[in-house]
């Protein structure tokens, strides 16, 4: 097989993998924002928290899978505690105060991370049986773990779609995004629904941080980095739209990957140029509703 073509294929796979990972984080963000109306700048911090927990728990108990099992619920608990203690007080306030408060939260999380885990960059070992690489040519091969990551993200995406589209809970969530009062009038405790959505969003972000760790390492600032890109994905896809987040994430994942490889001079810009272009064409994102 022609090496050039294989190289291109590898980039496509990488782009899709990045996109799928981005989708996990962005879907949580779009759900929380679209349904609860909460702008949570600290969403990236949950991603970082997931990664650092995975790293330290893996060192402690030696098993990547076990640490995953413990760290996700742990992060969810932290997230729910934050929702109860802080976010709930902001429902009636201007969105901007949420922005300011969660900005303060980012600072707090960053420093806590620095105090607890230090500032070094850490690698996380790829779990044993996934260490192999599939050879594609004499010189190029593709890591099995990356394929595994993509598969897992895809499965989760499918699960989310099922949840939102097919289950009564999903219908309730979608209804709550449009008319909170009416949902309550039907006898449904919208507060519980909101808490579930929040927990789900946090879990997705933390899980993403964890499975990305063997590939992307664990480093300070990883939360901010993924946060900005996730917001771009949410905006491109349209706020509150899982479908949009999926498409947007893939677009961004591919654009960023190809940008880095084929046009490194403008690599950083591609994501933003793409977003600006989409917004010019569709001022409310691909699947968003104007006036959100």
């Amino acid at each position: 097989m022609d090496t050039g073509l294989v190289f291109f294929l590898i980039q496509v796979l990488n782009g899709v993998q990045l996109g799928l990972l981005l989708f996990l984080v962005a879907s949580g963000l779009t759900l929380i924002f679209g349904i609860m109306g909460i702008i949570n700048l600290a969403h990236g911090s949950f991603y970082m928290l997931g990664a650092y927990l995975a790293f330290s728990l893996a060192e402690l108990c030696g098993s990547f899978w076990l640490s995953l099992l413990i760290a996700v619920p742990l992060t969810v608990l932290i997230g729910l505690a934050l929702e109860a203690a802080l976010f709930r007080l902001l429902y009636t306030r201007d969105h901007l105060y949420q922005v300011l408060l969660t900005y303060g939260l980012i600072l707090v999380f960053e420093e806590l991370r620095s105090l607890i885990f230090g500032d070094d960059v850490h690698g996380v070992a790829v779990p044993g049986f996934l260490e192999a690489s599939i050879p594609l040519t004499d010189t190029l091969s593709y890591p099995v773990y990356r394929l595994f990551m993509s598969a897992v993200c895809l499965a989760i995406a499918g699960g989310l779609a099922l949840l939102i589209r097919r289950t009564r809970l999903g219908m309730t969530i979608r209804a709550g995004a449009v008319n909170r009062e009416m949902v309550q009038s039907l006898g449904i405790d919208i507060g519980l629904v909101y808490r579930f959505v929040f927990a789900l969003g946090v879990a997705l972000a933390a899980f993403a941080g964890m499975i990305a760790a063997p590939v992307a390492s664990v480093f300070p600032g990883m939360g901010n980095q993924i946060l900005i890109v996730s917001f771009v994905v949410v905006v491109i896809g349209g706020i509150g739209s899982i479908k949009g987040a999926f498409l947007g994430a893939l677009l961004i994942g591919l654009a960023d990957t190809f940008g880095q490889v084929y046009a490194p001079a403008i690599a950083g810009m591609t994501v933003y140029v793409l977003m600006a272009a989409v917004l010019l064409w569709r001022p409310a994102g691909l699947f968003g509703r104007a006036g959100s």
């Binding site: 979608r174 009062e181 309550q184």
Partner: protein, 243 residues
């Protein structure tokens, strides 16, 4: 219909409600009671407090003072979903359609058994009663006509198998033919033993379907009694309702 004696507590009872909308004092010491199976027409000109009274009973706009009892239980200040769970369903003015859900999803999402565990209104029965909806089962809520949306809101409320159905201006803006269908459906609901509390502009149609009437004037109860009694006083009807 089973005999209901005066010993049963009213299904809904409110005493001395004072409700504010922001700074504006809308309800001034309103008393209200509704018994099981009764149909009450809530009447009054625009801005007299009818919707506010409904919202106070439902917990959507909690009163600043006064008490609300549902089936003998003090539900003052309870959250709206808890009040709804007591068997009360709301068909609001403006219909409250979920634009991102289909007709089927509206009905499935709302479905639950009544307080006594009975399921008189199943999806099948609802679709049989509202054939227009059955034809548009997978259509999005936003793509329905006004009349169809109203049917959807009513049927969604019925899917919760309520003991009390509250309707706020359910026939507003609808063609007379569709309005007639809605009145017919309400008679059916009545016949099944469900209580109905209805706000509407059509005084004649209200009089035909309601047992009792409550007239609100400037946030106070100007009349509470049998519908026939009210209609026998045309000057009162004219003065307070403008017809």
């Amino acid at each position: 219909m089973p005999e209901r004696g005066p010993a049963d507590p009213p299904l809904v009872e409110a005493r001395g409600l004072h409700t504010f909308y922001g700074p504006s004092h809308v309800l001034h010491g309103v008393d209200f009671s509704l018994r099981r199976g009764e149909t009450i027409a809530l009447m009054g000109r625009n801005g007299m407090g009818k919707t506010t009274l409904l919202r106070s009973l439902l917990g959507l706009t909690p009163p600043r003072s006064g008490e609300v009892f549902i089936d003998g239980r003090n539900m003052t200040g309870a959250p709206p979903h808890a009040i709804a769970r007591q068997g009360i369903a709301f068909v609001p003015e403006g219909r409250g359609i979920f634009v991102t859900l289909s007709v089927r999803e509206h009905l499935v999402m709302a479905a639950r058994p009544g307080r006594d565990g009975r399921r008189d209104w199943t999806l099948e029965r609802v679709l049989a009663t509202f054939p227009r909806l059955a034809e548009r089962l997978d259509r999005g809520g936003a793509l329905l006509s006004g009349g169809e949306q109203q049917m959807l809101t009513i049927s969604r409320a019925l899917m919760t198998n309520p003991d009390l159905l509250i309707l706020d201006e359910a026939t507003e803006g609808l063609a007379p033919l569709i309005a007639k269908e809605i009145w017919a459906i309400l008679r059916q609901v009545r016949a099944g033993g469900t209580a109905v509390l209805i706000v509407d502009k059509n005084v004649a149609a209200l009089a035909a379907v309601a047992d009792r009437a409550v007239v609100l004037v400037k946030g106070r109860v100007a009349f509470a009694g049998g519908t026939a009694e009210l209609m026998a006083q045309p000057e009162m009807v004219h003065r307070h309702l403008g017809v």
